[in-house]
């Protein structure tokens, strides 16, 4: 029998670990209105960004898909989408229509039609008020861990990451998958050098090639902009720190994905509709906020961020647990860090015990325990990946 946690069951059967009302800005020019509304409504979260206007088509689609993914994420109970005019291909109406397919309440406010920023603020605040009141009636229910889509990411890594906290995170991921859950590994640039192991772990040669293709594609994009990543890896800093080869560096990051089979690849911000337990690999860059936003758009309810140096990153709608194997980093960054796993290096914790500690923290957080970043309203983790220029 699988472990369980207390979650919110959505109309489409997905399970959230928060019951957030999201005030979603469709374009940069709705950001301030969205922020005013969120500041007024208890527990509301605003997602704002600099995009949605004058983007090349592939970028506009990426913005659209990401914003829709924020609304569809099971942690979100209801949404108000705000825009200021109409951006063909990314209108508030289009975004809302996609989100509404989940069955959750979604409202649209257009600043121009409302009669200006103040009127739009009033209209959106009132709409959010009624959604919030409805959401406040919903109770948590006991559900299986198999409902989890578990996000994996690392950043500001140091020596302790690859040999400590990432390995322990892999143990936690395996434990969730063994009970029917799914994990999302991302940051494909940091898989460069791990290609052979990815091929071996993938459920079929086609899936292995698909994911190796992501790595090559991102590498070619970087090369085309003049950055030879493979030729510069490991970096001078890495070599001084003791990393000798690109595969040593990448495999340290790859360790956080544990040993479960790799089921499929996901494009950036693609919803993970496949239900097979295992690891899914998403095409995201190493940029922490862009990466975890892609993972949140896939539908992940929770993410563990492994960081040797310590971090403040926290996604606005996907609780982000920070772990480190470096006790000094934990002391310096304690206000936004959850777990100090440095006992691994003092024979106080085995890797399995450290993985178990992460797992317990994940389950408690799923049932409602707040991360430090949530309490502090630290929402540093939202950014949308881009492929082209502004036009």
């Amino acid at each position: 029998m699988s472990d369980r946690f207390w979650g919110y069951i959505r109309p489409n059967g997905s399970v959230g670990i928060r019951n957030t009302i999201l005030i979603l800005s469709g374009t940069i020019y709705a950001n301030s209105t969205a922020e005013r509304v969120a500041a007024t409504i208890s527990g509301a979260v605003a997602i704002t960004h600099p995009l949605g206007r004058c983007q090349v088509r592939p970028d506009l689609r990426m913005t659209f898909k990401t914003l829709v993914g924020m609304g569809k994420n099971p942690n979100v109970g209801g949404v108000v989408v705000i825009d200021h005019f109409r951006e063909e291909g990314c209108t508030a109406e289009d975004i809302a229509a996609e989100i509404a397919k989940t069955g959750k309440p979604v409202e649209v406010v257009n600043i121009r039609r409302a009669g200006g920023a103040i009127e739009a603020t009033a209209e959106a605040t009132r709409k959010a008020l009624y959604i919030k009141r409805e959401l406040s009636k919903q109770k948590r229910e006991l559900v299986s861990v198999s409902n989890l889509l578990f996000g994996l990411n690392c950043g500001t890594s140091d020596t302790s990451s690859g040999i400590g906290s990432n390995v322990a995170l892999g143990v936690c991921s395996d434990k969730i998958i063994a009970q029917g859950g799914r994990s999302v590994l991302a940051e494909v640039m940091e898989l460069m050098g791990a290609e052979e192991y990815i091929r071996q772990r993938s459920v079929s040669p086609e899936i292995g090639e698909k994911i190796v293709g992501y790595i090559e594609h991102l590498e070619r994009r970087a090369l085309a902009s003049g950055e030879d990543i493979r030729g510069s890896q490991p970096t001078g800093d890495n070599i001084l720190g003791g990393l000798s080869t690109i595969e040593e560096k990448s495999l340290g990051a790859y360790m956080k994905s544990g040993s479960a089979p790799i089921i499929n690849g996901l494009e950036y911000a693609e919803e993970c509709t496949q239900k097979d337990p295992g690891v899914y690999v998403m095409y995201t860059p190493g940029h922490g906020s862009e990466s975890i936003t892609g993972i949140a758009a896939a539908g992940a309810q929770i993410l563990v961020f492994s960081t040797g140096g310590g971090h403040t990153i926290s996604h606005p709608i996907m609780p982000t647990i920070k772990i480190t194997g470096n006790s000094e980093s934990f002391a310096l960054m304690k206000d936004t860090m959850e777990l100090d796993l440095s006992g691994i290096f003092r024979d106080e914790l085995t890797i399995e015990q450290a993985g178990e500690l992460i797992y317990e923290e994940v389950l408690e957080t799923c049932s409602g325990k707040l991360t430090k970043s949530e309490i502090l309203h630290e929402q540093t983790g939202f950014a949308i990946h881009r492929v082209g220029v502004s036009i």
Binding site: T159, I163, R220, R230, S244, T245, E247, M255
Partner: protein, 106 residues
């Protein structure tokens, strides 16, 4: 006592130095294959760098995380520093790539 060398997998022939006192001539104890073994440190090795915990022959795979991270360029004795001077990558090399070709491929 604090551990000084961290070996991730029983398969590994290298460990990571997690002490700032890995000085040539010291004898350090590590647990390997379920037994405590003494290793004489052959060179000063900085924190975070790798040390050979099993004898390695030229051409052998270098193991860390239970996974291959490169190939030995020389024989490496137990207690020696394992780094870019005596191992090399098995994966792609930047000098085999050209920016111009990549642009065409896009």
């Amino acid at each position: 006592m604090a551990r000084e060398i961290h070996v991730i997998s029983p398969k590994d022939n290298t460990g990571t130095v997690i002490s700032r006192n890995m000085a040539k001539g010291r004898v350090v104890e590590i647990e390997l294959d379920g037994a405590i073994q003494s290793i004489e440190i052959l060179k000063d090795i900085p924190y975070g760098h790798k040390i050979a915990v099993r004898p390695i022959r030229k051409g052998d795979a270098i193991w860390k995380y239970g996974l291959g991270i490169g190939t030995a360029l020389t024989d490496i004795q137990v207690g020696d520093h394992v780094h870019i001077h005596n191992i090399e990558s098995n994966r792609g090399r930047g000098d085999l790539y050209q920016v111009a070709t990549a642009k065409e491929a896009l």
